[in-house]
Symmetry: C2
Subunit: 472 residues, 2 copies
């Protein structure tokens, strides 16, 4: 008996045909939309030099990076010189630095590849998972934000996601607000981490946690009052089941205008703060359908403590803890490789999350989950060896005609099986049609096409088979 385990490595997954088809369907939509928005594809290696990745994702990231042993005589040292891709943004920054002379002034790329993180596996959290990123490098204009939101909105609409929300905030606005409440930049970290939990834990718990972090009673009260006033009036999109988009768009627009009004009235002297507010206003103003009615300014959105320096955004649907994707503007990351700042803004869609939701809600087209091929061709079970060979040749020749017309065709891959065995196999696999070529048909250049659902069967030419099966 073999002793080897046959499961995939912990936290990783095998994708059987139906799984692959679903994944490729979603990836196909994402690619198509990004191409229509003028993004171009980029791919980078699974492994990077270890120094490219280390120190880019904080202490926790360093722990979660998969490291690859040196090879050959150095294997025994236990040292690593390579590491598996941890996200698609750091490799992008490296690529931009490496090929700056070859790349256009404005580099719009999409990248759809797996990344690896040695996280504790949990429901919907895997150690190998796909990210679908778009980024625009080289422009500081909010056109970029507007275009990215429109593209992501297009993708989700095409996939039949309905009530998704694009939450939008701005790092400079957040910073300016905290500063306005007397919390200078170097004391903002814990406050931001706490605010980020607002949606999850509520205002009361946020208040407690802020005080635990040492913020004064005044600071805490002011913060919670200000954010509370705004978030309490938030548009509860999960409550809405019938979509009059024009009306809903008005409601959400009203909320956004109120929020902007609060921000414009905020007693601050910080120019960066008002620049941030103006950028949020511009994104809303440039917003295109279908993203436009989905955008909602949410001042409690923080997006972790990552490299963002301007706008931040996150997309969610009701009932899904966590988001379907997020992104924002980061103007310093490329500089870590290039030694020169390059303005950048991007968005990352989480393929696995999208698929979880689409599976739960039955959003995949039926044809993806049905038959492995359009037709199965049987082989007439002659006893005589020569006749059997001729029958096999005929079946292969018929398959060839159908394949040349674009049909997906399987041929039963055994020459001495009874017809009943072949038909039972076809039924079990779910082929919608089966072709039988008996003595009589053979002499007339015909085949019998059997509809496996209805049991009907009819003799016809291979070319008639093509149009009949296509018509279904």
């Amino acid at each position: 008996m073999p002793s080897t385990k046959t499961q995939p490595a912990r936290g990783m997954r095998d994708f059987l045909p139906e799984d692959v088809r679903k994944r490729e369907y979603v990836i196909g939509v994402i690619k198509d939309v990004y191409e229509r928005y003028g993004f171009e594809p980029l791919e980078t290696p699974a492994a990077e030099n270890i120094e490219t990745l280390m120190g880019k994702y904080g202490e926790e990231g360093n722990q979660l990076i998969y490291k690859i042993l040196k090879r050959g005589v150095h294997e025994g040292t236990g040292e690593a010189d390579l590491a598996l891709r941890y996200d698609l943004t750091v490799p992008l920054a490296r690529v931009v630095a490496e090929y700056r002379d070859k790349l256009p002034k404005f580099f719009k790329r999409y990248q759809i590849q797996p990344v690896w993180r040695a996280d504790r596996p949990a429901r919907g959290r895997y150690r190998e998972f796909y990210q679908c990123d778009v980024d625009v490098l080289g422009s500081r204009s909010m056109i970029v934000e507007a275009e990215i939101c429109a593209a992501v909105g297009d993708i989700l609409e095409t996939l039949q996601f309905e009530n998704f929300t694009i939450r939008m905030n701005h790092r400079k606005v957040l910073s300016g607000l905290l500063e306005g409440f007397g919390i200078p930049f170097d004391r903002q970290l814990n406050a931001l981490v706490t605010l980020d939990k607002w949606e999850k834990i509520g205002s009361g718990a946020v208040e407690v946690e802020l005080q635990k972090h040492g913020y004064s009673l005044d600071e805490t009260t002011n913060l919670v009052t200000f954010f509370g006033k705004l978030t309490d009036r938030k548009v509860r999109s999960d409550r809405i089941t019938v979509y009059d988009w024009d009306l809903f768009s008005e409601v959400r627009n009203q909320y956004n205008i109120e929020t902007l009004t609060h921000l414009y009235q905020f007693p601050s002297e910080d120019e960066e703060f008002f620049k941030g507010v103006q950028e949020l206003a511009t994104i809303l103003s440039l917003g295109q359908s279908p993203a436009k009615p989905r955008i909602e300014i949410d001042l409690s959105l923080v997006r972790g403590l990552s490299y963002y320096t301007g706008s931040i955004m996150e997309i969610g649907v009701p009932d899904l803890g966590g988001s379907l994707g997020g992104g924002g503007r980061y103007d310093n990351l490329v500089g870590m490789f290039l030694g020169q700042e390059v303005p950048a803004c991007g968005f990352s869609l989480g393929l696995e999350r999208m698929i979880v939701v689409m599976n739960e809600r039955g959003m995949f087209p039926q044809e993806l989950v049905s038959s492995p091929a359009d037709v199965m061709v049987t082989i007439w079970p002659y006893k005589d060896a020569e006749q059997k060979l001729t029958a096999t040749k005929d079946s292969l020749a018929v398959a060839r005609i159908l394949r040349n017309s674009g049909l997906r065709v399987d041929v039963y891959p055994v020459r001495n099986a009874k017809l009943g065995t072949q038909l039972t196999y076809a039924a079990k696999r779910g082929f919608p049609f089966v072709i039988v070529i008996g003595e009589e048909e053979r002499t007339r250049g015909h085949v019998v096409l059997r509809n496996m659902k209805t049991g009907e069967q009819q003799a016809m030419s291979p070319h008639e088979v093509v149009s009949l099966v296509r018509g279904k």
Copy 2:
């Protein structure tokens, strides 16, 4: 200044947009053909438990496998628990063992994924490269070989490869021949390794090497005489430049028949040998166009010392050292995981080799290597802020209409650039069309479409743009 290197890891590659497009074009053809032959997609994780891979590829393989360090507190031990995928066959065998109850009796899968080998990098040899595999599990019939050859032939023809040859041999025939020359199974290894070099080093050098390996003068002379007689008469497909396929097919067929005749006449009592000869004859007999006229029995083909147990095949084109792909029948591999033999036959196409040849011979369709998008929309450079915002909105709205009609559209992503700057950028990027929306057009709901090749420009509605650009 940043100190980090910005090159990809040694032996690995970044793929910029044009590279990705070429790769996806080839992969698209491969997928499409395999689907039409009733193969279904499978994907497995990049990393496998280390014991799944170790010992499956010989001592050299063990050295070339990338090993991943344990994580967390175990990182310091320098031990590895995972390893990067080394080929697509061992993961397939694992999958078949793991999901045997879910998979059909005949499992026909294709898999197109990267593998990693810590080989010394050389021209056309990378440490990360794609394999495109098809395998059929569960059938011992030569229908499988015939179908695989036809599918691979279809792929190469679709990609415009012309004079490729499918060399075909059989492990049991090879074994039987050597046995017939007095070399029993346990002494065949070195003879096979030497015979494998026939094409490269010629009969004289083979003779010398056989004697160096300790084969007697008799054994050596008999072997070289027999193989020489066959290979000297080989059809030199590289000499042929005009393809009268019917004629050429006859010539090659004649050669195959002569070879089979020699084999049928070979003085052997080994049943397995004649079973092998019969299988070769059946594959030829079942051969379908376009593979049929390409198949050539080549008794000097050995295909390394891998896991093959029956038919072996390899595809090559003239001028290319090495092959475009190869495969064969292996009936014992799945058993290493399942504890039960499963008949299997497969073929692996080397994506990188195919792309090297296609690049050298200019075989990629022109549209793949041209423009990053169909149209670029400019933004009219008003000075006034409000007018500028309106102009931007208009440009985004026009882009939206074109994108909804399926065009790939870029919008110049900066709002304060002179029109000349925008047009220069468009020319440099190679967009075939540019849209300009001036004051006059705007009021009439029109845009100006500029053909960047001819310099012609014309006012029209966005919908007229769609049909005009599509028509090109």
